[in-house]
């Protein structure tokens, strides 16, 4: 399996990056079926990295390896080495609950809990015991909503259900919920695919601000979105990492034919 990789599928080395996440030789299997083949990738700190590729190429599956969400699927096995700040996240001694607090996740479909807006944000801090008093929690909730650019819109209805917000607001609520656990990394799995263009623009703006403090990985189907928001881009195809590098370089001067075909719309 390991060295079937075609020329150019190894990551292109781009200098001067301080990787938060390093993955080496990652393989993922669903039962007998292999979904990810021998992926090596580095994700830089405080930047946005996008994973692009046609449907079923394994980009979401790989994303879910980074916070070990694949553990919830019984038939899924992951091999290889993934480190966050040098720490092996598949180390059996590692507490997966702690890992997921450090690596937040935003899903494709906005999935607020059927609770109030306040309770949605307070959920993470409560289960991790991040605040000591009610006042501290109130402040944290407010700060997260502020960061997600949602505070103005929901200030007067913190006790109304989060499911009553519009799609775009719900997705920003989910982002606020993710940053409430004070993560270092935020994984976004097609966060805008269920949103209209205006809501998408707001979420992209928000990502731009968040990258100051967080390492963000976004899986997206939209190449324009990848080009707009990300500094680094990784192109996946059929479970393999084809090309990985500076976003501008990938979109203007890809080194692999498949990347070029994909970004020029010849398949995908």
């Amino acid at each position: 399996m390991e060295h079937q990789v075609v020329e150019g599928s190894k990551p292109v080395t781009v200098p001067a990056l301080d990787p938060t996440i390093t993955a080496r030789g990652v393989n993922v299997f669903y039962g007998d079926k292999q979904a990810i083949f021998d992926v090596d990738v580095d994700v830089p700190r405080n930047a946005i990295t996008s994973f692009i590729g046609p449907s079923g190429c394994g980009k979401s599956t790989f994303l879910r390896c980074i916070n070990r969400m694949n553990d919830t699927i019984p038939i899924c096995t992951v091999t290889g080495d993934i480190r966050i700040d040098g720490e092996d996240i598949y180390d059996p001694r590692l507490d997966v609950v702690e890992l997921r607090a450090r690596v937040g996740m935003v899903f494709q479909k906005p999935n607020p809990f059927p609770k109030s807006i306040y309770e949605n944000i307070a959920y993470g801090p409560r289960i991790h015991g991040l605040t000591r008093s009610k006042k501290e929690l109130d402040e944290l909730v407010e700060k997260c909503l502020e960061k997600a650019g949602l505070l103005k819109e929901v200030k007067d209805r913190m006790n109304e259900p989060g499911t009553g917000l519009s799609g775009g607001q719900q997705q920003r609520l989910c982002i606020a919920r993710a940053i409430a656990t004070r993560p270092e990394v935020i994984l976004m799995d097609e966060p805008c695919s269920a949103l209209d263009p205006i809501a998408t623009a707001k979420v992209e703006e928000l990502m731009e601000e968040l990258k100051e403090n967080y390492t963000i990985i976004i899986v997206t189907h939209s190449m324009q979105q990848a080009a707009r928001v990300s500094q680094r881009t990784a192109f996946f195809h059929l479970g393999k990492l084809v090309e990985n590098g500076d976003t501008r370089q990938i979109f203007t001067n890809p080194s692999d034919k498949r990347t070029q075909d994909y970004i020029t719309g010849r398949f995908g």
Partner: protein, 459 residues
């Protein structure tokens, strides 16, 4: 006779189907026009017209034949014999005539009775034969008329569909009318009961001793109809049952949906559903022969006096009966919570337990509540277990080790044995039945509302 008639009508309708299809097939051949409907529809159309009016006529005829003949019979009796007697005796006389007509002759009937019996037999024969003739003619006419309408442009399919929807409406109307009839008869007998016993006594009285003397000189209690202890017993047993069933059912559901592996789930779920298939009478003797004696022995060992037919034993066994009910409804409710909410919770670093208690159960709560309410309404309507395992004496007690009685047990005991239909003891059963019916109706309506509302939530 009627059986032969129905067989004949069936035969006519079947041949109507064949004839209709045959004619439609013939009409379609060699024509430029396309047949509007498939041949089969033409067949069904002819069969329906041949069969349905004749069957309806037969049913109506049979409904009215008896009363009409009776009325003619009474009218034909010698005036001096009829005028002297009242309605009840007249009924007796008519029955006597009928039994003579059927050949069961006891003692020596009066001559005018024998004459009337002969008349009765003659009329009945005439009625049957004319029914036979009229129905057969109607079926044949229907067949011919329907068959004559067959042509390429004839919309037999639409006709058949109209007839089918009519049949379905008729079936649902029958179901609704039956329910309505039951309610009305309950209501009627209940009103008769409240003519004899005051409503206030029934709903607030603390003394339930429905045994009243039917014969003179019979020694019984006074006959008191304060149903409060009966309602109390019902509620207590239902409460005990729910205390057993709710936690066990709920935890079983949580385990099955969230913890069990797919393989274990495939084995355990059907096993749990077997529990729901056990006849309640089997639960009943399980309660009487196993649970109650075991409780009694255990109670003696720790110095408690537990009656052999305690509320606890009946309630506990009823609770076991309700476990699969609650677990399968809760299972559905928890399963209906979208996977995205689980992902969201796990993604924030919640453990399985936190996800279940803080996200899944609150989200599924309406569905679970609906399930519990449905189970309560079953618990208060359950009869066989309590008839076998609970007491008969109505006692107003808080002690679950004492025997109590329930509404259903009282209805059974009130109606068993010979009793006249117009005494309050018998009629009390209807009043109890009406209360039971209303209580379960209200519970069911609330529960279904809740379950429905919650189903819409994720769609």
């Amino acid at each position: 006779m009627v059986v032969y008639l129905f067989l004949l009508l069936l035969a006519i309708a079947s041949s109507g189907f064949l004839l209709g299809r045959f004619k439609a097939r013939a009409a379609g051949v060699g024509q430029d026009v396309k047949m509007h409907s498939l041949d089969g529809y033409h067949g069904w159309f002819v069969a329906a017209w041949a069969g349905i009016p004749a069957v309806l006529l037969t049913l109506l005829w049979l409904l009215f034949q008896g009363p009409v003949i009776d009325w003619l019979l009474v009218g034909s009796l010698p005036a001096n014999k009829v005028q002297a007697i009242d309605g009840g005796k007249l009924q007796l006389l008519v029955s006597q005539i009928k039994s003579v007509a059927a050949g069961n002759i006891f003692s020596q009937p009066e001559p005018f009775v024998v004459e009337a019996a002969e008349r009765y037999n003659r009329w009945k024969d005439i009625a049957s034969w004319s029914l036979f003739a009229v129905a057969t003619v109607l079926a044949l006419v229907g067949l011919l008329v329907a068959r004559s309408r067959i042509s390429p442009r004839f919309r037999a399919r639409n006709g058949v569909e109209t007839i089918m929807s009519g049949l379905m409406i008729a079936c649902s109307v029958i179901a609704i009318l039956t329910t309505l009839g039951i309610v009305v008869s309950l209501l009627y007998e209940t009103l008769r009961f409240f003519d004899r016993v005051s409503v206030v006594e029934f709903f607030t009285g603390l003394n339930w001793e429905p045994q009243i003397p039917i014969r003179e000189g019979q020694v019984t209690a006074g006959g008191a109809f304060g149903a409060l202890p009966v309602f109390w017993g019902t509620m207590m047993i239902a409460l005990i049952a729910m205390l057993v069933a709710t936690p066990i059912g709920l935890f079983a559901a949580v385990y099955l949906t969230e913890y069990a592996s797919a393989r274990l789930r495939d084995v355990v779920k059907p096993l749990l559903e077997i529990l729901a298939g056990i006849p309640t009478v089997v639960y009943g003797f399980f309660a009487v022969l196993t649970v109650a004696p075991a409780m009694r022995t255990f109670g003696e060992a720790i110095g408690l006096n537990i009656a052999p037919n305690s509320a606890l034993a009946a309630g506990a066994v009823m609770g076991i009966m309700l476990i699969p009910f609650i677990s399968s409804l809760s299972d559905d409710a928890i399963n209906a919570v979208p996977q995205s909410l689980r992902d969201g919770s796990y993604g924030l670093g919640a453990t399985k337990g936190e996800t279940i208690t803080k996200v899944l159960l609150p989200a599924a709560l309406p569905g679970i509540m609906g399930g519990i309410l449905l189970a309560v309404s079953r618990a208060i309507g359950e009869t066989m277990i309590v008839v076998m395992a609970a007491g008969i004496i109505a006692a107003l007690t808080l002690n679950p080790f004492e025997p109590v009685t329930t509404v259903t047990v009282q209805i059974v005991t009130l109606l068993i044995g010979d009793s006249e239909f117009d005494n309050p003891k018998t009629l009390a059963a209807f009043a109890l039945g009406l209360v039971l019916f209303l209580a379960t109706l209200v519970l069911n309506v609330i529960a279904l509302r809740i379950v429905q509302k919650y189903r819409e939530q994720y769609d």
